[in-house]
């Protein structure tokens, strides 16, 4: 018996049965877990991994799905978010697939979930220790716009040469008087690597700073995985005298729940006016239930009812 066969013996049975728990075979999950450990050890560093084929198309959340599949167990509680919504086609499909493949239970309640796979949003309620947020990433490379050559960009990461990112900010201030990047706002992680936090709105970016939960960001098409461990500094790029700011939606009120100072969807109306709705549907459903008189536990939110961020002084004005 050669060495490879000795090593693979524990998985031979699985090979014969043609069935693997959590869709991916054990080797794939093991590789992903190692990749995750490396990513956690070097916050913000993009670790390459072999992205596996899945029964959904590349670009539809395969990166996040592989991470969730290799982290989930039967006792896991999974929530899947697509742009804030639990009920969109993509979120519902992924949730059903995850439940079927892992036997895990699912939820729309942020407080109950152990694994939250998300596209483009971080929930409004604060995530706690022990929870993991898995973000689907279309383009992991924050330097793409300033350096299209990926090997040069990797050298720039190695040298921590991020001056061109600040030059981009400088240009935006000169041309428009404010930072123009709306989503996937570049952040400096742990004072070392600049990362793209996936296309979450600016509103969600500060939520990654000194967060209690683990964030894993995975790009299936680009085959890169990176992480923000709990209680790690994540600072959006800004100048000493011109600060990063979240979206100003101070006058926007949710038409269903009356909530304010949360991230809203803008819904155009037939008469030309605009209505607003909470983007986080799980949170909106709980607020609505509380209004209707059903007692539901609602966790503390990142932004309070006056729009103040929970890390006082982190967002400067």
């Amino acid at each position: 018996m050669n060495r490879l066969m000795t090593l693979t013996a524990p998985f031979a049975q699985e090979q014969q049965s043609g069935y693997a728990y959590g869709f991916l075979d054990e080797f794939a999950k093991r590789e992903l877990r190692r990749t995750m450990l490396k990513a956690v050890a070097i916050p913000g560093y993009q670790v390459p991994y072999a992205s596996r084929e899945l029964p959904i198309a590349r670009g539809w959340g395969t990166g996040g799905l592989q991470v969730t599949l290799s982290m989930a167990g039967p006792e896991s509680v999974i929530k899947v978010i697509d742009q804030g919504a639990d009920d969109s086609v993509n979120a519902a499909n992924l949730r059903r697939f995850l439940a079927r493949m892992t036997g895990a239970s699912t939820t729309t309640d942020t407080l109950h979930a152990t694994l939250i796979q998300s596209r483009h949003r971080i929930p409004e309620e604060r995530l706690a220790e022990g929870q993991a947020l898995i973000l689907q990433v279309p383009d992991p490379e924050p330097l793409r716009r300033v350096q299209p050559d990926i090997s040069q960009a990797r050298i720039m990461h190695a040298d921590a040469d991020y001056s061109q990112m600040w030059l981009t900010l400088y240009e935006q201030l000169v041309h428009f008087g404010r930072f123009m990047q709306g989503a996937s706002y570049p952040c400096l992680v742990h004072g070392r690597y600049v990362m793209s936090p996936s296309p979450i709105p600016r509103w969600d970016t500060p939520k990654l700073h000194q967060a209690a939960h683990l964030t894993l960001l995975s790009a299936g098409r680009e085959k890169r995985l990176y992480a923000v461990p709990p209680y790690t500094d994540v600072r959006p790029l800004e100048f000493d005298d011109v600060f990063f700011q979240v979206e100003n939606q101070a006058t926007w009120v949710c038409r269903q729940t009356g909530a304010r100072y949360k991230f809203m969807n803008e819904i155009p109306q037939a008469d030309g006016s605009v209505a607003y709705e909470l983007s986080d549907t799980g949170y909106a459903a709980k607020l609505a239930a509380a209004r209707a008189g059903t007692p539901v536990p609602i966790g503390p939110t990142y932004f309070d009812d006056k729009g103040e961020f929970y890390h006082a002084g982190f967002l400067k004005s």
């Binding site: 040298d159 600040w166 030059l167 400088y170 240009e171 000169v174 041309h175 100048f239 000493d240």
Partner: protein
């Protein structure tokens, strides 16, 4: 050659440089230690020998002109001096406060880049090589400060407009893209970028070759004024002997990757010794 000096001279030398101790220095044309000392630079591209045992010594505050025909190795030498490219062999020392006196060619990429950013400025013949054409002119200048860790927008603005003003760029157009500027203005932006961090060494690679005569004269005037005001050391590469005559203190003539002749500008241009230099001077005049 040992030079005997009178006791009077010794006293004067000590009064001028008290920290030099009692060791007397022989009188020299250039009173200072060289700011840049390059010895034995060799570089081959395949079978082509681009530089062959080239030595360069530059003293603080002087302008060294390098002339020679196309393909003589002028620009290759300048790229080496800018630490953009490494030679096959050679020794490069920069006598500048803050720079270790090691061979700069042997430094790692990161410290080498640091020296390149802080102590060396360069103006290329083609603005495309030196400027980011998609960024504003002021942004191009500000980038140099960002590279050294400046993160204050107001200070970046002030420094950019200061450097652009020093290179006599019209400040009303400081936020235009370089593609929308004339050739002379583009060269001024490059110059502002090069001097933004007040480098000890300014490298000019045919800075006025693409410009018409009147603009050329204006840019040369700016360079001359800058040199007068800041006493920055310059190395000027040009095939135009008129430019060299206007600016350079000393001239180095290159051919086939070797130094043919070196000396004071007037001396070389009025009384060339090497056959090639004679040919060059007479072809021009």
């Amino acid at each position: 050659m040992p030079v005997s000096s009178s006791p009077n001279g010794a006293a004067r030398a000590q009064a001028v440089q008290p920290d030099m101790g009692i060791a007397l220095q022989a009188p020299r044309l250039m009173p200072h230690a060289p700011i840049l000392q390059v010895t034995g630079v060799e570089k081959s591209y395949g079978r082509i020998r681009a530089l062959n045992a080239v030595d360069v010594i530059v003293y603080p505050g002087e302008i060294l002109g390098i002339v020679g025909e196309s393909g003589s190795g002028k620009s290759t030498l300048l790229r080496m001096l800018n630490l953009e490219e490494l030679p096959d062999r050679g020794d490069y020392r920069l006598n500048v406060p803050g720079v270790r006196s090691d061979n700069l060619f042997e430094l790692d990429r990161l410290p080498r880049r640091d020296i390149q950013i802080r102590h060396i400025g360069i103006v290329y013949q083609h603005p495309h090589l030196g400027l980011r054409m998609r960024n504003t002119s002021s942004g191009n200048v500000a980038e140099r400060l960002i590279m050294t860790g400046e993160r204050n927008f107001a200070r970046l603005r002030a420094a950019a407009s200061g450097a652009l003003a020093a290179s006599e760029f019209p400040l009303a157009r400081m936020d235009d893209l370089p593609v929308r500027l004339s050739g002379g203005m583009q060269q001024r932006v490059q110059l502002a970028k090069a001097i933004a961090l007040r480098p000890a060494l300014l490298l000019l690679d045919e800075p006025t070759s693409g410009l018409d005569v009147s603009v050329q004269a204006a840019v040369l005037d700016t360079l001359k004024r800058l040199q007068r005001e800041t006493r920055v050391t310059m190395i000027l590469v040009s095939h135009d002997l008129g430019v060299i005559r206007t600016l350079a203190d000393r001239v180095m003539v290159m051919r086939h990757g070797e130094v043919v002749e070196m000396g004071l500008t007037d001396q070389i241009l009025e009384d060339p010794q090497a056959a090639y230099t004679q040919q060059l001077v007479h072809a021009k005049l």
